[in-house]
C-alpha cells in the first residue's frame, strides 16, 4: 500500500464541481421558464407538441388540398407489419396509375417511422395529434388521402378547372362502406 497524501488540488476541484452543480440546479429553481411540464388537459388549446413526436401518420396536403403521392408503394413494402396498403387506380382521364386509397391501420402500426423515411417525395409525415382514442376498432383504420387522383405536380399542368374536377374524386378519412 502506497502512502498517499490527500491531493489538495483534487479536493478543491471536487468542491468546485459540486458548487458548479449546485449553481446549475439553482438556475433551474430560479427560472420558472425552464419548466418543461405541460398541464395537459388544462392547456389543451395551447398545447405544443414536439416536432419529433410520432402519434399519427398523415399525407401532407398543400394549400389546395393536393398531395404529391404517386402511389409507388415503397412505404407499403417498407412497413414491417403491413399496416399500410396503398391502393392505386387507373386514372379516368390520364390513364396512368395514381393514388386511390392510402389505408393506414393505426391499431397495428408501431410508429417506427420507416414509411416516412422511405418516401421518395417526402409526402408522409408523423404528427403529434395524439388524441386518437375511439370506441370502435374499425375506426382505427384510416384512409389518409383526401382525394383519389394524380399528384399536385400533374394537376398543376392542367389549367382548366373543369378538367381538374374530372380527374379528382374526394375520399373520406375512413373507407367508404357502400
Amino acid at each position: 500500500m502506497s502512502l498517499r497524501i490527500v491531493s489538495f488540488k483534487k479536493v478543491f476541484q471536487g468542491i468546485y464541481s459540486l458548487l458548479k452543480g449546485m449553481n446549475v440546479t439553482l438556475h433551474y429553481l430560479l427560472h420558472p421558464s425552464t419548466v418543461v411540464t405541460q398541464q395537459y388537459p388544462e392547456n389543451r388549446e395551447t398545447l405544443q407538441m414536439n416536432e419529433r413526436y410520432r402519434a399519427q401518420l398523415i399525407i401532407q396536403h398543400d394549400e389546395n388540398d393536393l398531395h404529391k403521392c404517386t402511389a409507388c408503394q415503397l412505404c407499403q413494402n417498407a412497413c414491417p407489419n403491413a399496416s399500410i396498403h396503398v391502393i392505386p387506380r387507373k386514372g379516368p382521364v390520364t390513364g396512368k396509375p395514381e393514388l386511390d386509397y392510402f389505408i393506414w391501420r393505426m391499431d397495428t402500426c408501431t410508429f417506427c417511422n420507416a414509411c416516412v423515411m422511405v418516401c421518395p417525395f417526402s409526402v408522409l409525415k408523423m404528427n403529434g395529434t395524439f388524441e386518437t382514442a375511439v370506441f370502435d376498432r374499425d375506426l382505427l383504420t384510416y384512409n389518409l388521402t383526401h382525394y383519389a387522383g394524380p399528384t399536385s405536380t400533374v394537376l398543376a399542368k392542367v389549367s382548366d378547372p373543369e378538367e381538374r374536377k374530372k380527374m379528382i374524386e374526394p375520399r373520406n378519412i375512413y373507407l367508404d362502406k357502400k
Binding site: V6, L18, T25, L26, Y28, L29, V35
Partner: protein, 357 residues
C-alpha cells in the same frame, strides 16, 4: 432575555397548582404533536415542490391551489391503507421500530430553543443530550431492517447503522468547537453567547469549517442524499422501510422530515445564533430594526434556509458508494474535525477571536 421553558413552568406550578401544571403538560403535548405533524406536511410539500423545480418540473399541481393539499391527501391515503406485517417477521420489533425512530427525533426536538419563551426543556447538557438521543433513531432503523426478514432491509439497516455511527463522530467534533467557544452545553446559553455575533464568523475560520463539517455529517446522519445509501432505491428497493406500509411507513417518513428540521434547527442554533437577531457591530439603528423582528421568525427563517440548503444538496449531488462514504468520513472529515478542534482550542486559549466576551 430570560429563557423561560415549558418544563420550568410546569415544575413551578406543580407544588401549588397541579391542575395548571397538568394543563401545561397536555397543552405542550398537543401543541408539539400538532406542530410536528403540520411541519411534516409542510416540509414534504416544500421538498416536492423544490425538487420539481430543480428538475424542470412543476411538482404537485392538482390537489388544491398549486397542489398545497397534496400531502394531506397522501397522508389520508397512508392512514387508510392496510398495515401489512409480512409473515415470519419479528412482529413486535417490526411494530415498534417506526415509533422508536420517530421518538428519537421528537425527543431531540424537545431541547431546541425556538424563541426565548418557546423551548420545551432547557437541559444544562442540551448538546450532549441531542447527540445521545439521535442514536435512538439508528436503533429504530436497525430494528426495522432486522425485523422485516428481508435481506434488502437488513442491508439497508446495516448501512444506516454504520453510516450514522461513523458520521456522529464528525458531527460531535464540530459541535465541540461551538461548545468550546460558548463555554456551555446548554442550548439557550449557546444562543445567548452569540448576542454580539454568530459563531460561524465570530470564530473566524474555525467556525466556518465546523459548520461545513457539521452540515455534511448531519446530512449523513439523517440519511439524505448524497448519503442515502440505507435507502438507495436503485440498490436496495427502499432499504430499511421496504416491508412497511400504511401508517407505519408514514411514521418513518415523518421522522425523516422532523429530523431534517431538528438538524437544521440545531445548525441554526449553534452557528447562526438561533433566535438571535442579526446584528452588525456598531450600527445601532440597524440593530434596533433587526430587534423588531420577532425571535421566532429569526429561528424559523434560519432553519428554513438550512433546510433549503440540505434539499438543494439532495437534488444536486449523486449518491456516494459505501466505500466512498467511509473514506470521506474516516480519511477526510475526521482528521479535519480534529485539526479544527485543535485550532479552535488554541484560538480560545490565546483569545484570538473577534468581539471578545
Amino acid at each position: 432575555m430570560k429563557v423561560e421553558t415549558i418544563a420550568e413552568r410546569v415544575s413551578e406550578a406543580w407544588p401549588h397548582h397541579p391542575l395548571i401544571a397538568l394543563g401545561y403538560l397536555l397543552g405542550c403535548l398537543a401543541g408539539s404533536a400538532l406542530f410536528l405533524s403540520v411541519l411534516g406536511l409542510v416540509l414534504i410539500y416544500a421538498e416536492r415542490k423544490i425538487a420539481a423545480h430543480f428538475q424542470c418540473r412543476l411538482g404537485p399541481m392538482r390537489v388544491g391551489w398549486h397542489g398545497t393539499l397534496q400531502t394531506i391527501a397522501d397522508t389520508l391515503k397512508l392512514v387508510l391503507k392496510e398495515d401489512i406485517v409480512p409473515s415470519q417477521t419479528d412482529r413486535f420489533l417490526h411494530l415498534i421500530a417506526p415509533f422508536l425512530c420517530l421518538l428519537g427525533t421528537v425527543l431531540a426536538f424537545m431541547v431546541l430553543p425556538m424563541a426565548p419563551w418557546l423551548q420545551i426543556s432547557d437541559l444544562n447538557i442540551g448538546v450532549l443530550y441531542i447527540t445521545a438521543i439521535s442514536g435512538l433513531g439508528v436503533l429504530g432503523i436497525l430494528l426495522g431492517g432486522w425485523s422485516s426478514n428481508n435481506k434488502w432491509s437488513l442491508l439497508g439497516a446495516m448501512r444506516a447503522g454504520a453510516q450514522i455511527i461513523s458520521y456522529e463522530i464528525s458531527a460531535t467534533l464540530a459541535l465541540l468547537v461551538v461548545v468550546l467557544f460558548s463555554g456551555s452545553l446548554q442550548l439557550s446559553e449557546i444562543v445567548q453567547s452569540q448576542a454580539s455575533g454568530w459563531w460561524i464568523w465570530r470564530a473566524h475560520g474555525v467556525g466556518l469549517v465546523a459548520f461545513v463539517i457539521f452540515l455534511i455529517a448531519s446530512t449523513a446522519e439523517i440519511n439524505r442524499t448524497p448519503f442515502d445509501i440505507p435507502e438507495g432505491e436503485s440498490e436496495l428497493t427502499a432499504g430499511f422501510h421496504t416491508e412497511y406500509s400504511g401508517i407505519r411507513f408514514a411514521f418513518f417518513f415523518l421522522s425523516e422530515f422532523i429530523s431534517l428540521f431538528v438538524v437544521a434547527g440545531l445548525t441554526a442554533t449553534l452557528f447562526f445564533g438561533g433566535w438571535m437577531p442579526f446584528h452588525i457591530g456598531a450600527w445601532a439603528t440597524f440593530n434596533q430594526i433587526m430587534d423588531f423582528i420577532p425571535p421566532l421568525f429569526w429561528f424559523f427563517s434560519k432553519t428554513a434556509l438550512i433546510v433549503f440548503v440540505i434539499m438543494w444538496f439532495r437534488w444536486t449531488f449523486p449518491r456516494l458508494r459505501v466505500d466512498q462514504l467511509m473514506k470521506l468520513e474516516w480519511k477526510f472529515l475526521l482528521p479535519l474535525g480534529f485539526a479544527n478542534l485543535f485550532v479552535a482550542s488554541v484560538v480560545i486559549l490565546e483569545n484570538w477571536y473577534f468581539f471578545p466576551k
